[in-house]
Symmetry: C2
Subunit: 121 residues, 2 copies
């Protein structure tokens, strides 16, 4: 903290959301930040699915999928309905699609930038 930046600090400080909100935001994105959960979400883009179907699709334990579905549900990204013994999971709302789509766009854009060779520094 040698050179001074009082002006900027004051300005930014007042615009920053509360720690709680920032933490909640990070926690939300943390849910998207796992390959297994991302695969589950993408699967549900197509249609609702039961737990064992997802497990078979991803070649993983039913337990692992169940654990991750719980995380997704806690974040309000998926919901479920029961039909006899089986429980079907589906996307909770359209935010999931938009958020993932935005991430996707960022990826391909940056990937394209790297291919055509953006001048760095």
């Amino acid at each position: 903290m040698a050179h001074n930046h009082e002006e900027i600090l004051c300005k930014v400080r007042h615009e920053l959301p509360t720690d709680e909100l920032l933490c909640d935001l990070a926690d939300l994105f943390k849910v998207f930040g796992d390959t297994t959960r991302m695969k589950i979400l993408y699967s549900l883009f197509e249609s609702e699915m039961c737990v064992c179907a997802i497990a078979e699709l991803l070649g993983m334990t039913q337990s692992a999928i169940s654990h991750q579905l719980k995380v997704l549900k806690n974040a309000n990204l998926v919901a479920n309905r029961r039909e006899g013994k089986t429980i079907y999971y589906f996307l909770a709302d359209e935010h999931v699609r938009t958020i993932v789509a935005q991430g996707f766009e960022h990826l391909i854009e940056k990937h394209h930038d790297n291919r055509i060779g953006v001048i760095e520094k």
Copy 2:
């Protein structure tokens, strides 16, 4: 894998992106999934800032901030420019704002749902 779901598995399997893409997507969101990095991004929403300013703003070590800035830069979320001894970081593009904004909307919507009491199950 007791009851059968051949139809759904075949259908979804063909629509799923490659493992590499899904992994890249998860890795991207992983970057958003940390409170410190989220604070840094939100700070840069207002204006570009140098490393020590961010460190002072967040009350954290210069080293910690530097490490996180590297993560953000590797994900192409921020970029920097040098001006003498100090290095200013800024948002790399507008995707950052849109992605965070979408997450924000999801949060407040779900929070509102909980307040008015959505009938669950």
